[in-house]
């Protein structure tokens, strides 16, 4: 079942665009109904995911395409509606075994992006389709309180 489209963005893999996407996500998540903490969380997850595309998929090239779709998706049992973000890039196929993030017990730079993404979102799914990498992120609203 396809969701209702909220926002579609096509951007190049230039890190100077990250703040633009964050600005859009901050406003969109607020409009969608998330709490301030959840808005920060979802914005952070999307920012980290796009950063990963820029660094790892495109190896720092500045002119490669990234597509972001934000959609409203149906609730699950025990949740409110979902906020779905689909990110697609044309980079080489990603090895799924590398999408785990690292243990936080070690003090070292790097490896935190995936951790932030998995902490923030309810669904994190990766697939390869039509020659593109696609990352699906979903965060659900809290269920509406019943009076």
């Amino acid at each position: 079942m396809s969701g209702d489209l909220l926002l579609k963005v096509e951007l190049r893999s230039d890190p100077s665009m990250l703040c633009v996407v964050r600005g859009a996500m901050e406003r969109l998540t607020e409009t969608f109904g998330f709490s301030p903490a959840e808005c920060r969380s979802v914005t952070r997850a999307v920012d980290e995911a796009i950063t990963n595309i820029m660094r790892h998929s495109y190896k720092g090239q500045l002119d490669r395409p990234i597509e972001m779709l934000c959609r409203r998706v149906p609730k699950r049992l025990g949740t409110g509606e979902g906020f779905e973000v689909l990110l697609a890039d044309q980079g080489p196929a990603v090895d799924p075994s590398k999408l785990r993030g690292r243990h936080l017990d070690e003090i070292k730079p790097g490896g935190l992006g995936l951790h932030f993404i998995r902490q923030s979102m309810d669904v994190v799914e990766f697939k390869r389709t039509g020659g593109a990498n696609q990352l699906r992120l979903v965060k659900y609203l809290q269920p509406e309180k019943q009076d």
Binding site: P15, S16, L18, C19, R22, R40, R44, D47, E48, T51, M54, R55, L104, D105, I107, K108, P109, G110, L112, G113, H115, F116, Q119
Partner: protein, 109 residues
């Protein structure tokens, strides 16, 4: 993002304004490592009062600064963490490994 440095006796204070992300974290990393490894400044302080957002690459730059400071015997201090910056360091379980203060006065004491 803007970064500038002030020197007070044996301390260098980096004043950072704006968001820290992949676009500018390399610049911060470079400035920090130069100050610690080349200039061998005894105390390096990061003023984060005007940093609204920091991503994992920014955190990585701070961790690299911390590691370099430990190797060099330098004190490395953060102050003025915003709620978002504090949250990110807590999520990474790194908040406790940094020396963090609320104000510049406390950082320089």
């Amino acid at each position: 993002m803007q970064i500038s440095a002030r020197r007070i006796e044996a301390t260098t204070i980096f004043d950072i304004t704006g968001d820290i992300d992949l676009a500018n974290s390399p610049e911060i990393r470079k400035a920090l490592l130069k100050e610690i490894k080349e200039s061998k400044t005894p105390r390096v302080v990061m003023n984060l009062l005007k940093v609204r957002y920091i991503d994992s690459s920014g955190v990585a730059s701070l961790v690299e600064g911390l590691k370099a400071s430990r190797d060099a015997g330098t004190r490395f201090i953060l102050f003025g963490l915003s709620p978002a910056a504090r949250e990110v360091l807590q999520l990474s379980r790194l908040l406790k490994i940094f020396e963090v203060h609320e104000t510049e006065e406390q950082a320089l004491a």
